[in-house]
């Protein structure tokens, strides 16, 4: 971490540079005014003390001075507003992007869809990868503690990247300081922002809008790479995506579903319902022994697919494939104290959608 600890992070985009410089300028102006005003004040604190024999003057008005110290600040503010206005307009210009990526905030992870431009069709879900042992102090904390993810966002250097933000549940915010970007992700709405990174490297950020329990644990990691590396990455991703695409009609057996379901559960459900299925009642109910999980499967399929309106239980129908949902439901119904013995098939999920 060669980053500054007392100032804005080293900028790597034009906008971030403008912001950096504007902040420096503001700081200097404010410092000058501060020193001037408090210079005067401390001089009178020092010199106009009763203990030094100071006798109070009687003036209590002076129209000229009062006008001056109204007008001069206005002028200073105009000077500040001018560069700011230019940057605001530049930040809002999201036209003609090379690549458009949709970033979706989930409680508590980011999903990325490459919508247009090179890499179109790539999809990934980006989860915090810091192990929980590091949080509890059972293991030494790594260098990128809390700022690392399993699947980073990868973008090419020098290209205009437009990020569309939205969310699935509550408001999140997509923020990478070095890129000069922060945009709220609002459920049900699409908002956009853009950046063009001038340098290759790894840039890290966080979710910047309180979004519930694990708000502090949904980082963003952006890898800015060369055009070639980017092309290679896209090819690899697409290959992997094609290979792992499941045949929706495949009939699975229980053991395979459980193995897969355990992974899906750890990535998607354990944040609330906990790895041991005990949940964090009353906010997050236990699945171990839950009547829904042990009851008729259609109720559980419905809960997972459509979520529960007005609670943190999200609709996973859009995020997860039929196979994943089938797997995770099978897993929950056949682990801990739950022994329904049922294997839920992807076709059943498709039917329930």
């Amino acid at each position: 971490m060669a980053e500054s600890r007392v100032n804005l992070q080293q900028p790597v985009t034009q906008i971030a540079t403008e912001i950096y410089d504007m902040h420096t300028l503001m700081l200097v102006i404010c410092m000058v005014i501060f020193i001037a005003v408090f210079g005067v004040m401390f001089w009178s604190v020092f010199a106009h003390r009763k203990s030094k024999g100071a006798v109070a003057a009687h003036f209590h008005e002076n129209t000229t001075v009062e006008i001056v110290w109204t007008v001069v600040p206005v002028l200073i503010l105009l000077g500040m507003a001018y560069p700011a206005t230019k940057t605001v307009i530049a930040m809002k210009d999201t036209s003609n992007p090379d690549i458009t990526i949709k970033a979706t905030g989930y409680q508590w992870k980011w999903g990325y869809d490459y919508l247009k431009g090179e890499g179109e069709g790539v999809k990934l879900i980006s989860n915090l990868s810091t192990p929980s042992e590091q949080l509890d102090g059972r293991q030494a904390k790594g260098d990128n503690y809390l700022l690392e993810v399993d699947q980073p966002l990868v973008v090419p250097v020098g290209k205009k990247i437009r990020i569309l933000t939205t969310a699935n549940d509550v408001i999140h915010a997509w923020w990478v300081p070095a890129l000069g970007v922060k945009q709220d992700a609002i459920p049900g709405f699409i908002r956009d922002t853009w950046f063009r990174a001038d340098k290759e490297g790894v840039f890290r950020g966080n979710c910047a809008e309180l979004c519930g329990k694990d708000h502090g644990f949904m980082p963003i990691e952006v890898h800015v790479v060369s055009a070639e590396k980017y092309a290679a990455w896209v090819a690899e991703k697409k290959g992997a995506q094609a290979a792992s695409a499941d045949d929706p009609n495949k009939v699975w057996d229980l053991a395979d579903l459980k193995v897969r379901g355990e992974k899906v559960f750890a990535a998607n459900c354990a944040a609330c319902h906990q790895a041991d299925g005990k949940g964090l009642p009353p906010a997050f109910p236990p699945l171990d022994g839950s009547a829904v999980v042990q009851g008729p499967k259609i109720a559980q399929i419905d809960t997972v697919l459509k979520g529960r309106e007005g609670t943190a239980m999200a609709a996973f129908g859009k995020q997860l494939s039929d196979t994943d949902i089938a797997a995770v439901i099978t897993y929950t119904r056949n682990t801990w104290g739950n022994h329904t013995g049922e294997a839920i098939q992807p076709t059943e999920i498709a039917a329930a959608r």
Partner: protein, 526 residues
């Protein structure tokens, strides 16, 4: 409860219930003012204990003290309790005690309603603090309670909503009382432009309260119906918009921050001339500046929402309007400095706090201005920079002004001078520890530490440790104030009617402590 007005001071006019019933049924502005202040101090300590728990968790990276869920509850309740429980009632308490004394009225205009305004606060506090103990715990959506996170919360949220309704009723009644008292109860000859500045700032604050508390009530009511009755105000699927909540909330929220600072400006404007032994510089421009701040405060709310994705015109409008507020605020700062200039200054405890206030508040003002610049704010929004900004204006602003005012008027309230030595120690400890706590937060925010997180990346560790140490120092420094209060109530140097050499104004014409009933015959002001 008889902390500030000991019983032997009651003159023969006083009859009616005694003991606890006296406080429950009282219609006396001084009793009610005292209760407001005791209540707010208790809430300050409760909010402070929450803050210290937050700081303890943030002392080191990793999760040590509390779990994330509970951490969010603490942050949210700390904000709510401090804002609605500590700072606002404290200022209302000052208004109750001082406004009738300063304008020569015998009491507040609606003395019975005044009692109700106060006694609504304990139920609200019970609902707020009690929510920690219900299933699901307290509300954890931040003091701003943004939808749709607040729609997800458990029953703690409903308790917070009703608490806000009750506090809103209390504030509106309190504000109407103050407006009417100031407009209708002035002693003969006390024209508006002769009125002490504290009364002016409170008059304008009261208008702000009447205008925005109902809006907050509307906002939380919409959350309530979205939660329980299936409305879709903040739900896009039904045609609503989560950002709508933020607009309504901040239409309240921004004027709210001036509600917490304008009376502070008033207090400072009383103290500085007294200890400079020189009339306030630019009285009229102070009044106009206060009014301008209040009017502008209705046009800037969306500076809290620069990252929601407003259109460029929106961002520019709110940026310009916000920056403009620096002008009238600057006028105030300049006027205070000009009042000190060529005065005959002494630095008793109230003046120390007041001078400290100007110094540190201005830092907070400047960081506010930096936040106002939209592109910079996009980097700073929801980081510790904002936390630093608002603690500079709220703690070093509102709270310091409250202490300044308390030390200034304690002689009038108790009849004894406060312990100067302890008061000074209280000031210097607070000043030093305050800066140790909150100055590093600027750096944290700039370097990219988000707010409202229970755990953080390693590069933020040093400054967080520093802030935590400072916070405990600051917290324990406040215990000095308890000692000062107790000593001052129990005894100490007798205060003269005019407790401070340079003090002017009607409140200094009545004996110290002020008798239970004052100005039953209106004084005549020349």
């Amino acid at each position: 409860m008889a902390a500030v007005i000991p019983d032997h001071l009651h003159d023969h006019h006083h009859h009616g219930p005694t003991g606890l019933m006296r406080w429950i049924t009282t219609t006396n502005h001084k009793d009610i003012g005292t209760m407001y202040m005791i209540f707010s101090f208790i809430m300050f300590l409760s909010g402070g204990v929450m803050a210290l728990t937050i700081r303890a968790e943030l002392f080191q990276p990793g999760l040590q003290v509390v779990q994330p869920e509970f951490f969010n509850q603490l942050t949210s309740m700390h904000g709510l309790v401090m804002v609605f429980g500590a700072i606002m009632p404290a200022f209302v308490g000052f208004a109750n005690w001082q406004i009738p004394l300063m304008i020569g009225a015998s009491d507040m205009a609606f003395a019975r309603m005044n009692n109700w305004s106060f006694w609504l606060l304990p139920p609200a506090a019970i609902l707020l603090l009690g929510s920690f103990f219900v299933p699901g715990g307290a509300m954890a959506a931040g003091w701003t309670m943004y939808a749709p996170l607040s729609v997800q919360m458990g029953m703690g949220m409903d308790m917070a909503i009703f608490a806000i309704h009750i506090m809103g009723i209390s504030s509106i009644m309190g504000a109407i009382n103050i407006v009417v008292t100031v407009l209708n109860m002035r002693a003969p000859g006390m024209t508006m432009m002769k009125m002490p500045l504290f009364c002016w700032t409170w008059l304008i604050t009261a208008y702000l309260l009447i205008a925005v508390m109902p809006v907050l009530a509307g906002a939380v009511t919409m959350v309530l119906t979205d939660r329980h009755f299936g409305t879709s105000f903040f739900n896009a699927a039904g045609g609503g918009d989560p950002v709508l909540y933020q607009h309504v909330f901040w239409f309240f929220g921004h004027p709210e921050v001036y509600i917490m600072i304008l009376p502070a400006f008033g207090i400072i404007s009383e103290i500085i001339p007294t200890f400079a032994r020189k009339p306030l510089f630019g009285y009229a421009s102070m009044v106009y500046a206060t009014a301008s701040i209040a009017i502008l405060s209705f046009t800037v709310w969306a500076h809290h929402m620069f990252t929601t994705g407003m259109p460029a015109v929106g961002q520019l409008f709110f940026m310009y309007a916000t920056m403009l507020i620096a002008v009238p605020t600057g006028v105030k700062v300049f006027n205070w400095v000009a009042t000190m200039w060529r005065g005959s200054l002494t630095f008793e405890t109230p003046m120390l706090w007041a001078t400290g206030f100007i110094f540190v508040f201005t830092i907070g003002g400047f960081t506010g201005l930096i936040c106002a610049v939209a592109p910079i704010d996009i980097q700073l929004q929801d980081t510790y920079y904002v936390v630093a900004h608002f603690h500079y204006v709220l703690v070093a602003g509102s709270l310091f002004a409250l202490f300044a005012g308390a030390y200034y008027w304690l002689p009038k309230w108790t009849g004894h001078m406060a312990d100067e030595r302890l008061g000074k120690i209280h000031f210097w400890c607070s000043m030093v520890f305050f800066n140790i706590t909150f100055f590093p937060m600027h750096f944290l925010g700039l370097a990219g530490m988000p707010r409202r997180i229970p755990d953080y990346a390693l590069q933020f560790a040093d400054f967080n440790a520093m802030a935590t140490i400072g916070a405990f120092g600051f917290g324990f420094s406040q215990l000095i104030f308890i000692v000062v209060l107790v000593k001052c109530v129990k005894g100490g140097e007798k205060a003269a009617a005019r407790a401070w050499e340079g003090a002017h104004g009607l409140e200094w014409t009545v004996p110290s402590p002020a008798p239970h009933h004052t100005f039953e015959v209106p004084p005549v002001v020349k």
